[in-house]
């Protein structure tokens, strides 16, 4: 499983990376703009991300906009969202309005902070990324 972690906060990034690196390579982006660039180059080399953990609120380009752009990039390559990367939004508990918009923009799930290892792994199982 190849993962892209998109987080502006260092400790959240570290937490996700330490858990996810047990399942395959993990790449890091610190804002939405870097995330979209990473997705484009992964698709160009035919090694797309299986999972993208996308923080909603970030400087430069936020998670909502990045989500829309990533789905657009996939669509332009003829990849339907259900066959594209699994995108899990990470967000604060008091941010549920944003979660609804994210589903509208075709994310596959969300995780609230505090991020808990058990919840993260459960989500990956339900998305059939790990067994």
């Amino acid at each position: 499983m190849k993962t892209l972690i998109v987080e502006d906060d260092f400790t959240s990034r570290l937490l996700l990376q330490e858990i996810l690196k047990n399942y395959g390579p993990t790449h890091i982006a610190v804002n939405g703009k870097e995330a979209v660039d990473a997705v484009i180059s992964a698709l160009d080399t035919n090694e797309p991300y299986d999972l993208i953990c996308l923080d909603i609120m970030m400087p430069e380009m936020n998670g909502q906009e990045a989500l829309q752009r990533i789905r657009k990039v996939e669509e332009d390559k003829g990849i339907f969202s259900t066959d594209g990367s699994k995108i899990v939004m990470t967000t604060a508990l008091d941010d549920m309005k944003n979660v609804r918009s994210a589903y509208y923009n075709l994310c596959d799930g969300y995780l609230t902070k505090p991020i808990r290892k058990a919840n993260l792994l459960k989500k990956l199982r339900s998305l059939e990324l790990i067994t």
Binding site: I19, M57, A92
Partner: protein, 102 residues
């Protein structure tokens, strides 16, 4: 790395990372950069939630809410509280980690 080591690493990273974030937040507020301040407060809220630092999280959330209202002076009044909560947290964490070393 087992789960306990992971927890320790995350907590240590938090303690090392936060002073710089508070400094950035303070600069954002002084420059009137409300969007920057919003992002910093939000990031610190998430980071503290991850390690269960509830008192710190509550102050970060107050600052975030003030920035959402565009109220820089209200946001500024909480920065001192944030530093106090950080100092408190750092002491508690250092004591706990010290106790653990044989």
């Amino acid at each position: 790395m087992d789960d306990e080591e992971l927890v320790e690493e995350i907590i240590t990273a938090f303690i090392e990372d936060i002073p710089g974030q508070i400094e950035t937040l303070r600069n954002n507020l002084e420059r009137g950069d409300i969007e920057g301040a919003k992002c910093r407060a939000h990031a610190m809220k998430g980071a503290s939630a991850n390690i269960g630092a509830e008192a710190f999280r509550a102050v970060a959330y107050k600052i975030e809410k003030a920035t959402f209202k565009g109220d820089i002076s209200e946001a500024r009044t909480y920065v001192e509280d944030l530093i106090i909560e950080y100092d408190q947290l750092q002491k508690e964490i250092m004591n706990t980690l010290k106790m653990k070393t044989p």
